[in-house]
């Protein structure tokens, strides 16, 4: 009996994202046909692109960044906190790591450790501003994090200019921070003549840590309890304000990791054009897609990167590459609708099951009311 219930729940959980992807594919097909392109070519092109070894590297690298971003967002989501400020937080973290790395050279892995800590710390501090504004002054984090993103962009442009931390190579338009020492390079994993970011291991560890923290610790329990029902959490002795602040800081700390795969694995210096805003919003979409589950987020990140990377490939084959953005948007919207529908369906089935059990001749006199 219990096993059947588990299987049913599993099926219901998988049905929603599949339904959403199918719906998004159907809708994009309609749009493609209307605009005069063939859906069959488009989808086979995307699949074909995704199975080439060189593009697998590109997709994995991009999803490493997206995965971390979605993880940062998911920590907030689990307690009804919307950290839309991952953009500002990760860019500040990456900039700080680049500046510190350009000035300090420590032996061996110590350098990398230092830079990771600096990035996490600075990003967490920037997130704490929003946390404090919420707990001390009652400002909604939805608004404050969006505003802080713009403030961060301005400050970063200011700091990266040649007057401060920026340097401009001769004959180059681009202003970057000083290059990192060789010891700061995070070794890649060779594959198909290219390198997958070694940081993908760190990202996977972060995912495991996230799952452990939420499901196996008291902090995680308090966090989920607060997200489910604030009043119940307060009644059981949770300090909600403290939770808001610490989960915001934690979310920011994870956001600090977002820029590092690129910084330590490829660019070796910070520039505004390499560390763009927008990854935070992508993280929100992927967290929604993966339903805040570490594995679900991983699938979401892979799908998202695959779609995004195939854009230029589609353009070559005379399909407007922007169709992938529509696909992404539709997937997110239909996935949240599908989850809600499936949740309702599950509840109705549960209620029916309870009702059936209650209606059956009771072996004992236990009668309760379905919650």
């Amino acid at each position: 009996m219990r096993r059947r219930a588990t299987i049913e729940r599993l099926v219901l959980a998988l049905v929603a994202p599949l339904l959403a992807v199918a719906f998004a594919a159907a809708l994009s097909s309609v749009i493609l046909i209307v605009s005069g392109a063939s859906p069959v070519t488009t989808f086979s092109e995307i699949v074909g692109y995704g199975t080439e070894p060189t593009s697998i590297v590109a997709v994995l690298n991009k999803s490493t960044t997206y995965y971390l971003s979605a993880l940062a967002v998911a920590i907030g989501f689990r307690m009804n906190l919307f950290n839309i400020g991952v953009d500002g937080q990760y860019r500040f973290g990456a900039l700080a790591a680049a500046v510190v790395g350009g000035a300090v050279a420590l032996p061996g892995p110590l350098e990398i450790l230092l830079l990771v800590l600096v990035a996490m710390l600075v990003a967490a501090m920037w997130a704490a501003v929003a946390g404090l504004l919420k707990t001390k002054r009652g400002v909604s984090e939805v608004i404050s994090t969006i505003m802080l993103n713009v403030v961060a962009s301005g400050l970063i442009d200011f700091l990266v200019s040649t007057k401060h931390f920026g340097v401009q190579a001769k004959g180059s338009e681009q202003v970057t921070t000083r290059a990192l020492p060789a010891g700061a390079h995070f070794p890649g994993i060779p594959y198909a003549g290219d390198h997958v970011f070694g940081f993908i291991v760190v990202a996977a560890l972060a995912g495991v840590g996230y799952g452990f923290l939420l499901n196996r610790t008291r902090f995680g329990f308090d966090l989920r309890a607060t997200g489910r029902s604030e009043t119940a959490a307060v009644a059981s002795g949770v300090d909600v304000k403290q939770m808001v602040l610490s989960s915001m800081v934690l979310s920011g700390a994870v956001a600090g990791l977002v820029g590092l795969p690129l910084l330590l694995g490829e660019t070796n210096s910070f520039s505004s054009s390499n560390f763009k805003a927008g990854i935070g919003f992508t993280g929100i979409a992927i967290a929604l897609l993966g339903r805040n589950h570490p594995l679900g987020i991983a699938f979401g990140a892979l799908l998202w990167s695959l779609l995004e990377n195939s854009r230029s490939d589609l353009d070559i084959h005379d399909v407007p590459g922007e169709i992938v953005t529509i696909m992404q948007g539709t997937i997110v919207l239909s996935v949240v609708v599908a989850y809600e529908l499936v949740r309702r369906l599950g509840r109705i089935r549960e209620q029916r099951a309870v009702a059936a059990e209650l209606a059956a001749p009771p072996p004992t006199a236990a009668v309760g009311t379905p919650a």
Partner: protein, 422 residues
């Protein structure tokens, strides 16, 4: 907005102070505005940052306040019916695209209509997701923002590419003729040029309000009292607001809560769409990707600042429009001058706190005053990068000062199912 949005405990007892904020009589408002103008005039006279109150700045401020205010009005309609609309930014984007497209294809007035329709379409989608399917309102809003950016980009490749535009921008859109008050405007400008204390400031401000004003601006400004009238003085408005305060009670009195919410969110999207069309057609004469630059969110902040009321919202929109306008008109100098105003304001509040024996608040305030004054005297201009986020930091400052005294509609943001009272 989320479940955790309660103001810190122990604030907002019905003191004299909170009444001052919530019930502003016309006389008090006039005194407030006059005081603000005198302060601005004084700061301008001291710092010689003449663009602070020039007709050019005020005109730009008015133009920039329109999209913010329209987005805010959109937020007001939706949230008064109990639906949080973070998707305003996306609806603003839809408005810019459809406005520019129809404006370019059929003429500017059609562009405005198409902008409204595009925004309302976004609103319809939001209503479908949140009201019918019961999706979390913020989640749906975020998804609409992503979707709107994608849809407009895709449409641009289909429609604008090869017609003098491209993926990221449209061809130029024809102007809508502006209105200038004959006789008065040139006279005001000549007084303004004299740079007399207060007199030139007042004529600069008035001059900005009557010179080259777009008819769309007039419509947008008129929508503020109209919204007030419809929402607070008609039976329809009462019903709509009851859906945002207590939908169960509204339903028991025979109000069709779903239909009301649908209508409110579509009106909300329509207003945002008009704001977007204004941005593309009147302000820039072109659609450009990223043109909205977070104005939907700022509009939402203006509405929160205005305590979910049209008047306060308009004040908030003007404030953000003004700081945004400084970006365009010798921003470094003007924002530098505003530092003095900020220092005076914070210093005044701190001294008042001191007399009320709120020592910690007073000390923090005085430290901030000192730092701001130092910054003011040490430098001559504020770096451009800092000017670019002046509206956003103002939003944060204002909200952090005002948030605790605000009251949002009681059922705002809460999902509602028909017959949930059981």
């Amino acid at each position: 907005m989320t479940a955790l949005d309660t103001a810190p405990a122990g604030v907002t007892p019905p003191t004299r102070r909170s009444r001052l904020v919530s019930r502003t009589s016309p006389a008090r408002l006039a005194v407030l505005v006059a005081g603000l103008i005198v302060c601005l005039a004084a700061v301008r006279a001291i710092t010689r940052a003449d663009d602070l109150t020039s007709s050019g700045t005020v005109g730009a401020a008015l133009r920039l306040a329109v999209p913010i205010g329209l987005a805010g009005l959109g937020g007001l309609w939706a949230e008064r019916a109990g639906v949080v609309n973070i998707g305003l930014e996306g609806m603003l984007i839809l408005g810019t695209w459809f406005g520019a497209w129809a404006g370019y294809s059929f003429g500017p007035w059609w562009g405005l209509l198409a902008g409204v329709a595009g925004g309302a379409l976004g609103g319809l989608l939001h209503a479908l997701a949140t009201v019918t399917f019961g999706v979390d309102q913020i989640v749906s809003g975020v998804a609409i923002n992503i979707l709107a950016a994608g849809v407009t980009r895709y449409l641009s490749t289909l429609v604008f590419e090869g017609h003098g535009g491209g993926v990221t921008q449209s061809p130029r859109v024809a102007d809508i003729a502006t209105i200038t008050l004959p006789g008065v405007s040139p006279w005001l400008v000549s007084v303004e040029r004299q740079h007399w204390f207060l007199l030139s400031d007042v004529s600069g401000i008035l001059g900005g309000l009557v010179t080259e004003v777009s008819p769309v601006t007039v419509v947008a400004v008129a929508l503020v009292p109209i919204s007030y009238f419809v929402l607070w003085r008609t039976a329809f408005g009462l019903r709509l607001r009851s859906c945002g305060e207590n939908p169960v009670a509204a339903e028991s009195l025979g109000v069709n809560v779903y239909r009301m919410k649908y209508l409110a969110v579509m009106v909300s999207g329509g207003f945002a769409g008009l704001g977007g069309a204004f941005l593309a057609e009147v302000f820039a004469n072109i659609y450009r990707e990223g043109q909205t630059n977070g104005r939907g969110f700022i509009g939402l902040a203006a509405m929160i600042f205005g305590n979910w009321r049209p008047g306060g919202l308009a004040a908030g929109a003007s404030l953000f429009g003004f700081t945004d306008a400084l970006n365009l008109r010798s921003g470094g100098e003007s924002v530098h001058a505003l530092l003095l105003l900020l220092a005076l304001g914070v210093g005044g509040v701190s001294l008042w706190n001191l007399t009320r024996r709120r020592i910690i608040a007073a000390v923090i305030g005085l430290v901030v005053t000192g730092l701001t004054l130092t910054w003011f005297f040490v430098s001559a201009v504020v770096p451009d990068e800092f000017v670019s986020f002046a509206p956003h930091i103002t939003t944060l400052l204002v909200l952090s000062l005002a948030s605790q005294r605000l009251r949002m509609p009681a059922a705002d943001g809460k999902p509602y199912r028909r017959g949930q009272a059981g």
